[in-house]
Symmetry: C2
Subunit: 144 residues, 2 copies
């Protein structure tokens, strides 16, 4: 299951993507529109800023905007920030590989083989879905 943080992040990002434009949007506006806890959202946006998913503008009339084109921000990008690796085991993570604690021999681990296939399948989906597609879906369905 994804975390609440991930849900909030995705909703905030979709709001930014759907809203479009170049002018920064304030945390307060996003929080109210999407009904997200303001201070928690503040922390989440700060995390999304580090890898460049969003960019911030400080001072009066500051706010947040997407850090790159919406079509270049995948669901995988977002979930990796909020929830860590997509993989079901560190030993099959591509972005954050780590050897398992007491793994006998990785190359013959039957568990690893299954988890690796699962990771690849998940990653293929989540890396192919991006904010632009999702925002377009919402607009088509009249939700925005």
């Amino acid at each position: 299951m994804i975390s609440q943080k991930a849900r909030y992040a995705l909703r905030a990002l979709l709001y930014l993507a759907a809203r479009g434009g170049d002018t920064p949007i304030q945390i307060a506006e996003i929080a109210e529109a999407e009904r997200l806890p303001r201070k928690f959202l503040e922390q989440i946006l700060a995390e999304l800023k580090k890898p460049g998913i969003v960019q911030s503008h400080r001072g009066r009339s500051g706010g947040y905007s997407l850090g790159r084109a919406a079509k270049d921000i995948s669901f995988a990008d977002v979930l990796r920030v909020t929830d860590g690796p997509l993989a079901l085991s560190p030993c099959v993570s591509v972005m954050a590989y780590r050897k398992c604690e007491d793994c006998f021999e990785e190359t013959v681990c039957a568990i690893r083989k299954a988890l690796l296939a699962a990771r690849d399948a998940t990653a293929e989906i989540l890396e192919s879905r991006n904010l632009a597609q999702a925002a377009a879906q919402l607009k088509r369905s009249g939700a925005i």
Copy 2:
């Protein structure tokens, strides 16, 4: 990421599958062979028993054996017991559907669409991998 409990469960089940035979195998033997915490394993096996993944034999010379053919126990079956639904959101879970807390309208939710696709991809893999295949792999590679 899967839990430690899930790893232990899979290792214990693979041991039972590879060991084969009809006579029950004691917790103590599994724990020693796979180097799992004995008492923790006890709890895990109790959970695996409820849905019939393993069956127990009480009393002296009791122990555990698989509850059905190894080829009929998938990785998905095991992970659902130890870690809950495969889905990334309750609203896309097939086995344990639940509506999201403050979901505006499920049918148009762009987040849901992506998570649903991810669930289907994951489930397809994990439901196709079973203990018999995995145990056979281990034997072929000489790990057992």
